[in-house]
């Protein structure tokens, strides 16, 4: 097979400077570097993280973007639709400060009359386009656009998200509400984390009888649905930021406690921990070097999942009437208020609804991304 002639010089033993055979071809990374690298590749999670950063920033700074107070009532300027400088002349965007509706009637006159009646008989500020004058047998259709700002004498004002039924600036209220929703959720998630980690960690680390009793308690508590506890708690502690937070944390810490306990129990008996113990590592060293780094990821992920859960629950409570009381606003109360007038002033519900949805989606995507990033099994 090998009849080709090769230079004899090639058949001399290879000179090797140093042994490269044991060289590891890829750079070694710490757990966090490795996770970070994987997270950076996850476009969805990155977008989610940016959305959260922007929304958090807006929740803090948004209310100061204009001069209206979140509780500044003024019935004369109530129910103004959204109007934004620069976007007010773009037809397809809902920022013109006008109400838009189509009217249908037997004759053109009737349709126009309907429109005028609907919009406060303020003909001056109604712009009508005839879609169908009814001459071909069908009903007459008129497209009417009503400049609410002009009608109420606020031509020079701009309410970016409009105003609510009491004339309060919806932009300020939405961001203020976001702030409060985020505050409640983050606080509740933090308390859950502290209690859960402590409970789960103690239960697992001490093991034996301590673990036994602590687990019995959990087994009984876990049966009580969150919904029930929260409703009962809100009934005792009249609704407020603090009481809602407490209600959310009463059983909220249990999942965290279970996860931490499971993980610590698993780690405790794993070879690398046993090996460390065999080598004479002290308890504190084992906790700091072996256990903490291995549960941190889990804590972060689980907290990231708790926050949207808490946001949801707060909004849910507000929606069924057990939430924050006016004038304090949260995303939940805003959606609830908006829902009452959804058919006529949909913008009141749509903006807080969009923001709460964005927050929930972003948190879930980021949490998913973190979970994938922390899972070393995924390493390629």
């Amino acid at each position: 097979m090998a009849n080709k002639d090769y230079d004899k010089d090639l058949f001399v033993p290879l000179e090797r400077e140093d042994d490269t055979s044991e060289k590891i071809s890829r750079p070694s990374l710490t757990f966090w570097q490795d996770s970070w690298m994987r997270l950076k590749k996850n476009t969805g999670a990155l977008i989610g993280a940016w959305v959260l950063i922007i929304i958090t920033f807006m929740a803090l700074a948004g209310p100061f973007f204009n001069d209206y107070g979140f509780d500044e009532q003024n019935l004369i300027r109530s129910k103004l639709p959204p109007k934004v400088q620069g976007l007010e002349n773009i037809d397809w965007l809902p920022f013109q400060g006008t109400m838009h509706r189509t009217f249908e009637a037997e004759t053109l006159e009737d349709a126009k009359e309907d429109a005028i009646n609907r919009f406060k008989r303020d003909e001056e500020n109604i712009e009508m386009t005839v879609v169908d004058d009814g001459s071909n047998g069908g009903p007459a259709i008129v497209d009417a656009e009503f400049d609410v700002y002009a009608n109420q004498g606020f031509e020079d004002e701009y309410f970016w998200f409009g105003t609510d039924t009491l004339g309060r600036d919806q932009w300020t209220r939405v961001w203020k509400g976001t702030q409060i929703s985020l505050y409640i959720a983050v606080l509740a998630a933090f308390i859950d984390m502290v209690i859960g980690v402590a409970y789960g960690g103690i239960s697992a680390y001490y093991g034996g009888r301590v673990d036994d009793y602590m687990q019995r308690i959990i087994e009984i508590l876990i049966g009580i649905p969150n919904l029930v506890v929260v409703i009962l708690m809100i009934l005792i502690l009249s609704p407020g930021i603090l009481s809602i937070t407490i209600a959310l944390t009463i059983t909220g810490w249990i999942p965290m406690a279970r996860i931490i306990r499971g993980q610590v129990l698993k780690l405790k008996n794993q070879e690398f921990v046993l090996a460390s113990r065999t080598l004479g590592a002290s308890d504190s060293r084992i906790i700091m070097k072996q256990l903490v780094p291995n549960v941190t990821g889990l804590i972060v992920i689980n907290t990231m999942f708790t926050i949207p859960g808490a946001i949801f629950f707060e909004a849910f409570l507000s929606f069924i009437g057990l939430g924050l009381q006016p004038p304090v606003a949260s995303l939940g109360t805003l959606i609830d208020e908006g829902f009452q007038s959804l058919q006529t002033f949909p913008y009141l519900m749509i903006y807080p609804a969009i923001i709460i949805s964005l927050i929930m989606i972003a948190f879930n995507i980021v949490a998913d991304g973190l979970r994938d990033a922390f899972d070393p099994k995924m390493r390629e």
């Binding site: 919904l227 009962l232 519900m349 749509i350 929930m360």
Partner: protein, 309 residues
Amino acid sequence: MARYIFQRIVYMFITMLLIATFSFFLMKLLPGSPLMMEDKLTEEQAVIIKEKYGLNDPVPVQYVNYLANLAQGDLGISFQQDNRGVTKILIERAGPSIQLGAQALIFGLAFGLLLGIFAALYHNSPIDYGSTFLAVIGKSIPSFVFAGLLQYYIGVKLGWLPVAFWEGFEYTIMPTIALAMFPIAIAARFMRTEMLEVLGSDFITTARAKGVNRLGVLFKHGLRNALIPLVTIIGPMAIALLTGNLVIENIFAIPGIGDTFVQAVMTNDFPIIMGFTLITGFLFIFIILIVDLLYGVIDPRIRLAGGEK
């Protein structure tokens, strides 16, 4: 196994007792009572009413009576609805709630599982990404937000479906979809993960090495194994349906238990709130128990671990 079941049932009763006790003393603490309009009542009327609600007995006696009533399914009397029994009111209103819940569960499970199967089959394809995205959306957007948007765009703007009320099948479509979003999301996510794991396991390779065709591998070998842990998502799903029912019924003006509850919250009708809370709690605890026991029955590996027959 028998010991396990027994233990679980004991825990279930402890939890129920805890909830019942908790809510009883809560009732005692609450500012509202049948005597809320006290000023307007004469002394005699007050005595009569107190007698009627058993409020003259010492608290421990009231507690025992309360538990005894509870054991017989008596949840007390509504403050607002003409002194009618809470149990009776809740039973009357159960129909639409059960129908809505069942429809959402069936639709959500069926659609979600299918979505998950396709996502796993076409792993890392647009179908997979699409279904994963849908699952994130469904899991994230609160059902009442979704219901509100649905109602506005489909009901009001487009006029395709009735905006509210409960007068026939087409009235159930929007609430069912709104309520099914979460079940769809978790079922799809669950199925995708399980299916991917099962399809990657050795016995699937064995089946393929036998010459079993694609569908056979998928359904005969894959699906059954992937479905075994399905019971684990029934718990979260049940909570989601129960929670969702409250707001969805309210939004679509469906005369069910959830709507009754929200009305009760608004009118401070505590017996109804308590009754609902207790029923929800018990229902939930019961579902968890069933799920745990089912898990043992379905998976032959667990069934046997409990004791060789």
